[in-house]
């Protein structure tokens, strides 16, 4: 068989719908491409013409697994457009919310979506049955993440309370304190779960690529910072948005992103490679125990990076929660006089960089909107990885090969609903 065609109509256990196709001619992988299978919602288009306060409500609906980051990135971009400065206490609350989201998103992906690949389990019900104790731990940890979001945002899926200029409701001190009392237990759970991922055996696969993430001195940043690349470039969010190419292949329904004509990687593995020195101590320990040498170019290590971040995020909640309780916000919002403008923000979603950009007219309505999601940024990098990996898997039986392909796709933790917003 000289020409082989691989087609996976639906990759299960990822967020949103996607398939995969590849052509192999005499062992040479000619084509390897992820195919998104989500309809056109046109969120950016729908936001144009709407009031400037609405993207904070509309954009979380892009994605049910990472609504918090869309909510907050849109708020931050809008504050940039309107020239609003928010006090440190608000940023602390936002960072706590984001840590909560990272815990629930990573715990879900790690335990329920990727782990079964390593255990050769197709149906998670069997995972739940065979690993009852661990399942319970994963659920409890996710719950801690969700309740952290709820304490500040009032609801985990599609948060309510954060708005341009601050909050509609400030968190209850006692509720935050209760969370902090529970945090040591959550940390224990996170470490236990992270250790599971340190003990797995990862496929031996490497391909050099460019890593991009936020960077900020003394922080493992999620909410703010410059954008840096592993080859040493540095951008503001605005420079980055100007520099990248957003492009659509004629038969697709996604605007992919490249930088200097090259694919690049964002997400936990990028953050770990670029910022590991700023992890909290317990997360550092997990990283050390993983024996992963950084920088790592093995995309499967995105799983370890998420596990490390899950521990880090609990430590972040413990640290910032205390910071906030020592110095809580006095007002729930800053006063501002409306003035239109063009604003941009870049934050770190669980799956990587997220950029929101809004131009608001003096009539208070949105004139332009541009959103670049992490999966749109890394999907072409995943194609390149799959192309090389398929070549390396040439000797394997087709069933085995397809399982490995799925495993690599899931290691990336793609979110197709974000990608196709």
């Amino acid at each position: 068989m000289a020409i082989q065609h691989i087609q996976i109509d639906h990759v299960a256990k990822i967020e949103g719908h996607a398939g995969f196709i590849a052509d192999i001619v005499k062992g040479d992988v000619k084509k390897a491409q992820m195919q998104t299978k989500v309809g056109a919602r046109l969120i950016e288009g729908l936001i144009v013409g709407r009031h400037y306060t609405e993207p904070a409500t509309i954009t979380p609906r892009i994605c049910g697994i990472c609504p918090v980051i869309h909510n907050l990135t849109s708020v931050k971009a809008m504050e940039d457009a309107l020239g609003i400065e928010v006090p440190e206490e608000f940023k602390v609350l936002r960072k706590i919310m984001l840590a909560g989201q990272q815990i629930q998103s990573h715990a879900l992906h790690l335990f329920f979506l990727s782990l079964p690949d390593f255990l050769h389990i197709k149906n998670d019900i069997n995972l739940v049955k065979s690993y009852e104790k661990e399942t319970k731990k994963a659920i409890l940890l996710r719950d801690f993440g969700n309740r952290t979001i709820e304490a500040i945002g009032a609801r985990a899926v599609h948060p309510i309370s954060s708005k341009v200029g601050g909050f509609k409701r400030l968190p209850d001190k006692y509720e935050l304190k209760r969370l902090l009392d529970e945090a040591p237990r959550a940390l224990k759970l996170a470490k236990h779960l992270a250790n599971i991922f340190n003990d797995l055996s990862y496929p031996n696969f490497t391909r050099e690529t460019e890593f991009i993430a936020l960077q900020k001195e003394g922080e493992y940043p999620i909410y703010e910072g410059d954008l840096v690349t592993s080859s040493g470039k540095k951008f503001t969010a605005r420079e980055f948005a100007d520099e990248v190419d957003e492009f659509q292949n004629p038969d697709e329904l996604i605007n992919r992103v490249k930088l200097d004509g090259q694919t690049f990687m964002v997400g936990a593995i990028s953050r770990l490679n670029l910022n590991h020195q700023n992890l909290y101590p317990e997360a550092q320990k997990i990283l050390k125990e993983s024996q992963v040498q950084l920088p790592t170019y093995n995309s499967f290590h995105n799983i370890i990076a998420q596990a490390v971040e899950m521990v880090h995020a609990v430590e972040e909640i413990m640290t910032l929660g205390q910071v906030y309780l020592n110095n809580p916000a006095k007002e729930r919002k800053v006063k501002y006089k409306f003035k239109g403008g063009d604003g941009i923000a870049a934050c770190e979603a669980p799956r990587g960089l997220l950029v929101h950009n809004y131009e608001v007219g003096d009539d208070e309505y949105v004139k332009n909107c541009r959103i670049m999601t992490p999966t749109a940024m890394f999907l072409t990098n995943l194609d390149e990885d799959l192309k090389q990996y398929l070549g390396e898997l040439y000797e394997k039986r087709s069933k085995q090969r397809e399982d490995k392909v799925r495993m690599l796709i899931r290691a990336y933790d793609p979110c197709i609903t974000c990608a196709t917003h």
Partner: protein, 258 residues
Amino acid sequence: MSNTKTKKKLKVAIVALTSCEGEQFVMFDQGEEFLKLTEFLELSEFKLFEEVEAEPRYFDIAFVEGGPLSKEDLERLKEIRGKSKLLIAIGSCAVLGGIPEMKNYVNKDEKIKYVYQYTKHINNVEVKPLREIVKVDYEIPGCPMDGKEFLRIVKAVRKGVFNKIPERPVCFECQTNNYKCLLLDGKPCLGPITKGGCDAVCLYGGYQCEGCRGPLDNVNLENHQKLLLKNISKRHLSHLLELYGIKDDILENQRKEK
């Protein structure tokens, strides 16, 4: 032999059409309570949870979230309907049209060109709730739906009980919980005309109700709109009613009243 073993489990499909898939995460967020449902439900089709080689030919219940925005979505919806004894629409997109239904109120050809360079191959259909396309047996509204309500309904449906979601406004729970009335503050709150059951969570969060659970059956919408127009512009009101896709439902209700 325990009862659960002798009784056959209900075969269930959980299907997402184009959407944020938030309803699936709400289910997941119920943690052990959600997993406990598998004592009497067999998750025969749930792509977030499992990889199946061949999909079963029959489901007792299909939960469908999202809207049929693509040709594939539409085919999938019809296929699932054909295979299922009961089809339950979950979340605002499936029940009302949801956020994507905003498309219906703007020039969607312009909007698609705003977002994509190549558009010929893309379906850019009018957005409709599921019940306008296939027979829907039950609806659980909300953006997202309330997790506790979902669990309650599933447990009742298993016994063949389909309780109608009470025709009580969001204000009922808002007042029971002693939240501040934002309408009195001059905020454009849709609480009085919106179906409750959400525990007035938005009011808890300090935000007005924007109607994601859809309008009540017998309620004076015109009066409420007049009230809101004292504080907000017509454009603002119009946008508010478009947000979760209730504008057409309200117009339809008004037509019926006349």
